[in-house]
């Protein structure tokens, strides 16, 4: 087993969300969340379904602009467009894989490198030496990244033909190609078997060792607690606990949020009435 790296967060905060609130009409999906990611840290964000993880995630990637509060990356407020956020240095992957399915593996990574290159339309048409230089450098960089995730042998394959686990890896490589300072992984092990999950774990550590901070949203608790230096728990839009794995694992409120409160006393009269009303309701569904 990989040892838990319980480093105290000595790095400087690169992502700093303060008082982030996100309302959709009358619904408050995220309420007054403070959140930081320090340089060189792996931070986990967990919470039961519907806790507002994805909404908060979207606030960090420029898809949503928080109703209140602000998100700063390296001291600057995040721009409101997702491509500008990527250019600023935050890269992301998607919960349900969103590769460019009909492009090759290499091309996918090259697209990820888009923000770090400048060649425009005229450069492409005129093909001056500078074009070939930049294109060559991009390809070299892309191949390095593919080697890093172990896909360099499959550079010419179509992305759609890769097996599931490799598509996940390719998505990470594509995100890394934008040379981020912070990588956001949205459920990177969803649908993976234990071996693949282990491999992803190693990959995330390797990314951290490159000096890139990582924020992971995950359901797989073992994965999160193995991986993260710090874990935040989001419940019903609010941050419940934050701390290292041991603290969070032992917190009663977290267990309660996931498994429910143990019954302290008899079900209240209210609940009993509710259940009875539901049973007495005309059984239309049952008749069918």
């Amino acid at each position: 087993m990989t040892t838990d790296t319980i480093t105290t967060s000595t790095g400087q905060a690169i992502l700093d969300a303060r008082g982030v609130t996100m309302r959709f009409g009358g619904l408050t999906a995220v309420r007054n969340v403070d959140f930081t990611v320090n340089a060189g840290e792996i931070v986990g964000l967990i919470g039961p379904n519907g806790a507002g993880k994805t909404t908060f995630f979207n606030c960090l990637t420029g898809l949503y602009i928080p109703t209140e509060g602000e998100v700063r990356y390296k001291g600057n407020i995040l721009p409101p467009k997702s491509f500008k956020v990527t250019a600023a240095g935050i890269a992301r992957t998607f919960q349900n894989i969103r590769l460019f399915a009909n492009m090759t593996v290499l091309e996918n990574v090259l697209v990820g490198h888009h923000t770090r290159t400048k060649e425009g339309f005229w450069s492409a048409v005129l093909r001056l030496p500078s074009f070939h230089r930049a294109e060559g450098a991009s390809r070299e960089r892309a191949m390095e990244l593919l080697q890093f995730v172990g896909l360099d042998k499959k550079a010419d394959h179509l992305a759609r033909n890769l097996p599931y686990g490799e598509q996940r890896k390719l998505e990470i490589a594509r995100a890394l190609a934008s040379e981020p300072g912070l990588l956001l992984l949205d459920e990177p092990t969803a649908g993976m078997n234990p071996q693949e999950t282990r491999a992803t774990e190693e990959l995330v550590f390797a990314i951290r060792d490159k000096g890139i901070a990582v924020l992971v949203i995950e359901h797989d608790m073992r994965f999160i607690f193995n991986l993260c230096d710090r874990v935040s728990v989001l419940v019903q839009g609010e941050k419940l606990v934050e701390g290292d794995s041991a603290t969070v694992q032992g917190d009663e409120r977290v267990i309660a949020a996931y498994l429910g409160e143990p019954f302290a006393n008899e079900p209240g009269g209210e609940e009993v009435a509710e259940v009875e009303a539901a049973e007495a309701a005309p059984g239309k569904e049952n008749d069918r």
């Binding site: 969103r98 009909n102 090259l110 923000t115 290159t117 425009g120 339309f121 492409a124 179509l158 934008s178």
Partner: protein, 607 residues
């Protein structure tokens, strides 16, 4: 569900897995196919009818004429394939993917052309009595060859077990489905062996031969003088191409051309440039130049639709803007500006005006996605036409001369070369339209270069990424709006570039040349159809699509008012059976046929 499987059909079990579609022994079938094909060849040297009332003069013994030539070509093709099936030395290269399916399609081609001719003679002249022995011989020979070919063995698919509880209708559907798969399996062919590395000069010679063949076929098609011959040409060319493809020759040819892409493109342009020299008068060069204009604009649209995935239904407006801009500065007496720009300046004005127009339309509309964009561009296309109609001095400022358009546009004169005059080069007469054909070919070359180079670059990848998944592309740091606007503007200015030449070719620019849908290409609907029909995201696709879409209505005048109907039906059929277009981009092919052979490796950007 509990499905009980019954034993497979006993009839198919007894007839064996390797039987033909009809019950003739395979060996006899091959002999029959060969004999029939030879008979067909012989018949083309005989008279098929007694009177020269049927066009093409099929009354002579000794040499074939008109439709007989097409039948002869089909006959030779099937004979060669049959001989290759017998293992005749020196013919093995003809069938790298196995001869059987190729023989079937070649005999179908011969049969269809021969029977079409025989039936056309009987109908035109009123009865089979007008047929001479040669006609009967052709009909019998080609039928025999077809029957023989259908007796060739093929790998029958395993019948699916069926559910005995099925209702009669479900059973019928199941059986019909199996019959259809069997029928399709009869035309299945193996994968052609890869072409070994040949010396480069041999490969280049092969490319030259392919180009020469292409030029010959195109010249023949464009020069067909009567409806029957053109229909016969379409039948022979289409089915013949299918036969070559089943034989595996097309796959091998594309392997060779993929190895020498630049030479292939240069060869294609050389072949196209030779086209006017094959003509004695300017009649077909006219068609040639119109096809080129249409094809070039379709290729420009392919950047917008095929690469960036933006459905533009008003693209012809950019051609119109370019043409109007060039016409206004051409020194035409009906232009309100009394200026006569040299051609290079007119090109800049035309392409520049289209660029501005493209950015003006694109900036507000490109924030929309999908269907909305299509509707807005459709609207803008119409706005352009109606505006051009109204800027006549009465309903608006006098700029475009209203529905009369700008007429009497003078001929171009570049460096003392007068495009209106007839020139003679080494014994070849090159008329006005041929002059413009050469000019247009240069414009096409420019568009091809822009397409190729931009598609294989950072900006081209960004276009494809936007097409594939816009949200993911944005998350990868691509400024979607900006990149789409560039695609839109590039497409617009390329169309404007073609427009500047078009204005001079047609003498007159009127608003009615730039409709959404009409009988005469180019119009927005036909442009889009050329791209979709030919194959999105490829270079050769729109060129072939445009040539077909121009030639077919032009040659089949008798269809008259039904042209658009026929066009619609043809498009529906194509989208049903070959949604990736005639010349598919390899990406697209994978997209539509998931179960097709999995060529996991994609070496080139499918150009």
């Amino acid at each position: 569900m509990t499905t009980q499987t019954t034993a497979t059909d006993t009839a198919t079990a007894t007839s064996g897995k390797h039987a033909g579609l009809i019950g003739i022994p395979p060996k006899a079938g091959l002999a029959l196919a060969l004999g029939g094909s030879v008979l067909t060849i012989i018949s083309t040297f005989m008279a098929w009818t007694w009177t020269s009332a049927f066009p093409g003069d099929l009354t002579v013994y000794g040499y074939p004429g008109g439709l007989q030539v097409l039948v002869l070509i089909g006959g030779i093709l099937s004979t060669l394939f049959c001989l290759a099936a017998y293992g005749v030395k020196g013919l093995g290269w003809l069938v790298p993917a196995g001869p059987d399916a190729a023989i079937k399609l070649a005999t179908i081609a011969t049969f269809a052309t021969a029977w079409y001719t025989v039936l056309a003679i009987s109908f035109d002249l009123g009865g089979v009595v007008n047929l001479e022995p040669g006609g009967y011989l052709a009909a019998i020979g080609s039928l025999a060859a077809l029957l023989g070919a259908f007796a060739l063995p093929f790998e029958r698919p395993e019948p699916d077990p069926y559910d005995p509880d099925d209702t009669g209708w479900e059973l019928f559907k199941h059986k019909a489905g199996y019959k259809w798969t069997t029928f399709k399996a009869a035309f299945a062919t193996g994968t052609p062996r890869r072409v070994g590395k040949l010396p480069s000069y041999v490969e280049i010679l092969i490319i030259v031969a392919i180009m020469a063949l292409g030029l010959t076929v195109f010249t023949y098609g464009i020069g067909t003088e009567y409806d029957e011959l053109f229909i016969g040409f379409l039948i022979t060319a289409g089915l013949g191409f299918a036969a070559l493809s089943k034989a595996g020759l097309i796959a091998q040819a594309s392997q060779i051309t993929a190895r020498h892409q630049n030479i292939t493109i240069c060869g294609a342009f050389t072949a196209a440039a030779l086209f006017p020299f094959t003509q004695t008068d300017d009649q077909y060069a006219t068609i040639g130049v119109y096809i080129l204009i249409f094809a070039t604009v379709a290729l420009g649209l392919n950047i917008v639709v095929g690469l960036a995935g933006l459905l533009d239904l008003g693209y012809v407006a950019f051609l119109g803007v370019g043409a109007y801009a060039a016409a206004l500065v051409s020194g035409s007496p009906s232009s309100p500006f009394d200026v006569h720009f040299p051609f290079w300046a007119a090109v800049l004005v035309g392409a520049g005006a289209s660029l501005v127009f493209g950015v003006l339309i694109g900036a507000p509309t490109l924030r929309l996605r999908g269907d909305y964009l299509a509707i807005v561009t459709l609207g803008f296309g119409e706005i352009f036409r109606i505006t051009a109609n109204n800027l006549d001095g009465t309903s608006g400022p006098d700029l475009t001369n209203g529905s009369n358009g700008i007429s009497s546009i003078p001929n171009l004169n570049i460096l003392g070369f007068d495009f209106g005059a007839v020139h003679t080069f080494g014994g070849f007469t090159i008329g006005r339209f041929a002059n413009y054909f050469f000019l247009m070919l240069i414009v096409t070359a420019v568009v091809v270069t822009v397409f190729r180079r931009s598609s294989d670059s950072r900006i081209g990848r960004a276009w494809v990424a936007i097409r594939e998944d816009e949200t993911a592309a944005l998350a990868m740091g691509i400024n979607g709006f900006r990149v789409k606007l560039i695609a839109f503007a590039v497409g617009a200015s390329l169309a404007g570039l073609a427009g500047t030449v078009q204005a001079h070719v047609t003498y007159t620019v009127t608003p009615e040349q730039y409709l959404f849908a009409g009988v005469i290409p180019p119009n927005s609907a036909f442009l889009l159809a050329a791209v979709v029909l030919g194959g999105m995201g490829t270079i050769s696709g729109p060129l072939v699509g445009a040539a077909l879409l121009f030639l077919i209505p032009n040659k089949l005048q008798f269809l008259g008012d039904y042209q658009l109907l026929a066009f619609g039906v043809a498009l529906i059929l194509l989208m049903r059976f070959r949604p990736e277009g005639l010349i598919p981009n390899r990406r697209r092919q994978l997209e539509f046929h998931e179960d097709a052979e999995p060529p996991t490796v994609l070496t080139k950007t499918g150009a």
